[in-house]
Amino acid sequence: MMTKIAFVRKKEIPPSAPPITEVGLIGWLRQNLFSSWLNSILTVLSVYFIVIILWDFIPWAYGGHWNTKSLRECLDLDPDVACFSVLTARWKQLLFGLYPAEEYWRPTLTFIFLLLAIVPILFPKFFRFFWFSIIYPGLAVWLLWGGSFWSISIVYIGLTLGALFFLTLIRRYLKNYMIAAIFAFLFTAVFFLFISNPLVGLLNVILPISLPFVESLKMGGFTLSLIVGVTGIVASFPIGILLALGRQSNLPVIKMICVGFIEFIRGVPLITLLFVASVLLNYFLPPGTNFDIVLRVVIMVTLFSAAYMAEVIRGGLAGLPLGQHEASASLGLTYWQSQRLIIMPQALKISIPGIVNTFIGLFKDTTLVSIISLRDPVGLASTIRADQKWNGIYWELYVAIGLMFFIFCWGMSQYSQYLERKLKTDK
């Protein structure tokens, strides 16, 4: 008997389309929103809440008044929609505080320069412009506060001269770094104590470049938030690294100082430190001392943030296997070389989410300065409400302020994710 084979397929069947429930929109919905009973219930609830919020919010915001003269006028026109006129009238104050109107270009320029100055830090391919990031702090201080151009640049001149002095000593005369550093320090100190003032006076006569002075009382709005936030972020990072290293140091004195500092600062709420800055320092300093309030606040915010930064970075350091330290030591690298080349790049990479988290927290914490009378956006909101024209406006102001903060914080978060993707080596 022959085996009779009824049918043999010669060709492969073309793959049939996946079931409609697995691909496309429906598939996506099933996988992401309705993958189980619990998820389905949560999805439906979320959609319900989003809809009822937007149901009220969109007509409220969309139909809002922008051009009335007061809240009263808004209410008389249509009380059920937003009165964004307060933003029309006050947006400049929300951005610049009480900064003189004819000088608005200065904070604006400072902000544009800020964006330019952080590019070389954020994106390595622009690193050749790093010199601008170094010049920027002085430039920003001069633009914002004004005064003589030379009294700011003299700081740069003095430090540059000190550095040159140090390098010359090392190259030509001395082998010992420590002694050279001490000499360079003395040289710089002498420069600032005796030479800088007459020099500034002379330069002012020869080439008077100056901007009208704007006092810190006038700083406010987002300009103030950015001054405090950005300075705090930039300054707290290196201090944090040093504190983290100091905490792991074998030298007991350094270790004790660092641990003491970190634990003290972390044990105290930020608002307490701000009160110290605003209130207590004045008692310690002699009467009539004009220790700038913004500077005081920036210092406190920086110290506060540095303590948290130190712990975040310590977490990164702890995450590195001990072998990395030992390997770098066996290569004959000095302590600082191994930190710079081996340890820190890895530790910082691990810590990126934590670092950015601290930055974002710090930026939002700047709103606390309203409690000690500084006119940041939140402080300004209550000042604006004290104008009878706008007395009783809440949502419109807070929505606008919240949106501004969201943009900055979201930007930081996006950058951190970009950085994490870029530095990902363990695929």
């Binding site: 209410l75 009380p79 009480l98 005064g147 009294s151 600032f192 209130v279 004045n282 000042t383």
Partner: protein
């Protein structure tokens, strides 16, 4: 930065040398007055759309600056929250505090401050919806009351209801803004805070006529400017500028007609405006026409009131007890002689 550091050093050196001048001399040397005001209290102090400081307390400080310098703009306003106001004054960050601050015994004595007088008699009031049909606080038995926690208003409320044998149910809120929102949402029958704030709030409600500020005031909140202990001459200057504004209203001297009193027979007006022979303002170290300048700056007390708290301001507070004693109020200045 460096300049600042040197500034600190200089100040340290000065302090070590012990060169303490009087506040008036400090102010004159500095060229402007540092006046502590609220960062935002409707009618009392705020900034307008163009960034200019305005308000009842602001105008007082402008009058004081005008008295010292002849220029009402020679004053810097330092916005202070209630948390830091007294320390800012004590530490010398401001020369005078005009920050709708209630004059109390302990603030006067324990905090070592000198109150210069009362520029506004405030007090705690109640706002109700008209549909409730309540006309007086005595009808509030059993009401739910929105009340800011941790304030003297909370204690006053408890005392008042207890004294009158009434009961109430508190709805605690964090600040005036929340009180207002709760009240409008119907969480409480009435909400209570200082009457000046109630009036300001009511005017900007959706339908102001649906709401009523009850006539009773249940607490005393005399607001006034204050200075540090230890410089009586400076306190005298602040006190008498305030008094001058009150006297000016009493005598009918206004910003507009101030130049038309040269031929008056009233000797006190001549002393006040410096148009007579005797220069009594030299006693406190002010120029002869200091009070003339002070009144010229923003008008007399009544004008300042109208512009910032009264009808012109849109807050529409009645003069009430804040009227001159000649018009049924309790504002009464000692004689200027």
């Amino acid at each position: 930065m460096k300049k600042l550091f040197l500034g600190v050093l200089t100040a340290l050196a000065l302090a070590a040398g012990g060169t303490f001048a009087g506040t008036l001399d400090d102010v004159k040397a500095r060229g402007n007055l540092l006046c502590g005001v609220s960062t935002g209290a409707p009618g009392f102090a705020t900034v307008d759309d163009s960034g200019k400081d305005v308000g009842f307390d602001v105008d007082y400080c402008r009058a004081l600056a005008a008295a010292i310098f002849g220029d009402p703009m020679a004053v810097k306003f330092v916005g202070l929250t209630s948390a830091v106001r007294f320390t800012a004054l004590a530490a010398g960050e401001v020369d005078i505090l005009a920050r709708n601050t209630t004059w109390t015994y302990s603030r006067d004595t324990d905090l070592k401050q000198t109150f210069l007088g009362v520029n506004y008699y405030d007090g705690q009031g109640f706002m109700v919806k008209k549909e409730l049909g309540v006309k007086s606080t005595t009808e509030l038995d059993g009401a739910t009351v929105c009340i800011q926690v941790g304030t003297t208003t909370e204690l006053n409320l408890a005392d008042y209801f207890k004294e009158n044998g009434m009961s109430y149910e508190p709805v605690p809120t964090a600040d005036n803004a929340e009180s207002q929102q709760q009240y409008l949402a119907g969480a409480c029958d009435t909400y209570t805070t200082d009457a000046s704030a109630l009036h300001g709030t009511r005017v900007n409600l959706e339908n102001p006529d649906d709401h009523l500020v009850l006539p009773e005031i249940i607490s005393k909140e005399p607001l006034g400017p204050l200075v540090r202990h230890g410089d009586d001459n400076w306190a005298d200057i602040g006190r008498w500028v305030l008094n001058a504004l009150v006297i000016a209203e009493e005598k009918g001297i206004t910003k507009a007609n101030i130049d038309s009193w040269k031929d008056t027979k009233d000797a006190e007006i001549h002393r006040l405006l410096g148009t007579g022979d005797d220069d009594i303002l030299a006693m406190v170290g002010l120029p002869k026409n200091a009070m003339y300048n002070a009144i010229k700056a923003g008008g007399n007390y009544g004008e300042i009131f109208e512009n910032n708290l009264g009808a012109t301001s849109g807050i529409n507070i009645e003069r009430g007890v804040n009227a001159s004693w000649t018009k049924g109020g309790i504002l009464y200045s000692p004689p200027f002689r």
